[in-house]
Symmetry: C2
Subunit: 285 residues, 2 copies
């Protein structure tokens, strides 16, 4: 029940109407008996500063930040965690006692969550895409002690940017999606992570598979294939790899785990019920 003492948490982004965060966060909040609600707030680019600054002056206890503001919000924080600085992206803000925002990033822990019981030490990996999402994935693979990352992308600039950012942390290479070597790389790799939006229900061609189906004919059934997309679930890419006998992971667990980590961050370490959030999503979708 919302009373006059209920505080709120909010997701800030543009758009936010697709987000499942309100569903899972409010389920966890209710389960934990917290006098809080979680709402989504669409925010125009030019309004970000006044919105984020004014929320400090209300009974808003914390924010999730999503596209396109994960970088822009840096200027509005008085404190930023090392991990957020490293990957240059903030997805969670908490109000400190001095009434300023402390920013961090829970996407990495979210990404790692479904992989944490797998032994990936010294394994090879391929990341599809070199956008913002790829940064959390790279840092996650570093934390899991893989030995090598190859990023396949259409965008040379962002490819080089990522290589520069992480080259001292792991053996990392970037190739364009037109490179002939892709077939061999796919055969040899242990883990493939799709960070591109190809396969999202909103993209034009619902049967889209990153770089076209033919690129994946040589995939080995021992390869783990992880698609960050959670809607649809599974994506065409995961369906194809599943038919090839691969272990497949969709983006749902990452979505929930990063949300659970945020809620734990806002509540100074409360144990957040992953399954309660998962059930709420299943019921809603």
């Amino acid at each position: 029940m919302i009373t006059s003492n209920t505080s709120f948490l909010a997701l800030i982004g543009n758009p936010v109407s697709h987000s499942l965060s309100p569903i899972m966060q409010n389920a966890a909040i209710k389960y934990l008996g917290l006098d809080l609600i979680y709402i989504a707030i669409p925010c125009k680019n030019e309004d970000l500063e006044i919105v984020v600054n004014s929320l400090k002056k209300m009974n808003c206890k914390g924010l999730n930040i999503t596209i396109p503001f994960k970088k822009k919000v840096f200027d509005l924080c008085s404190e930023i965690s090392p991990v957020a600085k490293k990957i240059q992206a903030i997805n969670t803000l908490k109000l400190k006692n001095d009434n300023n925002w402390s920013g961090t990033n829970t996407d990495i822990e979210g990404f790692i969550y479904p992989l944490k019981n797998l032994n990936l030490t010294n394994k090879n990996s391929i990341i599809l895409g070199s956008g913002g999402a790829a940064r959390s994935v790279i840092q996650g693979l570093i934390d899991l002690k893989l030995s090598k990352i190859t990023i396949i992308s259409r965008n040379n600039n962002s490819l080089n940017e990522l290589i520069t950012l992480f080259k001292n942390d792991i053996k990392i290479e970037g190739i364009l999606n037109t490179n002939d070597e892709i077939g061999n790389l796919i055969e040899e790799t242990d883990l493939i992570v799709n960070t591109t939006p190809i396969g999202m229900s909103q993209t034009s061609d619902n049967d889209a598979i990153p770089f076209g189906q033919s690129s994946w004919e040589t995939i080995d059934s021992n390869t783990i294939v992880y698609d960050l997309i959670y809607n649809p679930s599974p994506t065409p890419f995961l369906k194809f790899c599943d038919r090839k006998g691969c272990m497949t992971i969709d983006g749902t667990q990452m979505l929930i785990a990063q949300g659970a980590k945020s809620l734990s961050f806002w509540t100074n370490g409360l144990e957040v019920p992953f399954e309660v959030m998962h059930d709420a999503l299943k019921k809603y979708l």
Copy 2:
């Protein structure tokens, strides 16, 4: 269920922690099946402008304004209704298509609600207190076509301010609470309205009756006694007058009716379920 498309309404004031508006408004919203929630936002004096202006840039569809901002919020509206201008108090803001606030006041309709089936035309009335709440009451009594209003107050300045504001609309006089005439006035009056906070559960002396019990020994059982306070309900004053045989009205109906009018204003005239809001309050208190 709160989803990523849910918008919100908010109460702005300082304090707001006592407010029952979230309870009754969310009950009505749920009953009407609106994808909205209503939250209370405590706001410091110096933050009013940035908070009210920034809420325009979020999915906030409307605001209730309570003490101490009903006057100060005038500067933040691009449009103000005649009734709000008249009594110099705004309690409801709605977002217009040009993304600016339109301000009005539903306190008067709220005050009138429990009186509307009584014939008070050409009757006499006494108002206790000359603060902000008295303005809605005076305008309400004018709308109900009473013939005379006497305001009893400790504060000469605010007494004169009210007389000046309404002297062209009704026969209106002000006397200090030390005036010997009070006894006679009480005997002759048809309606007494308490707008002072005396009797509120937070005041120091819970058995407090405005101007002390002895002032009311001469009250006639035909007098209608209306206390704007809804917590406690009834107040010591109403209990006393009830024992004297008077018809008594507490502030609950006004609270609900002004809230229902606000919700109707935000939803462009939706019929708002008074009883659903009333039941929610009874269940909560």
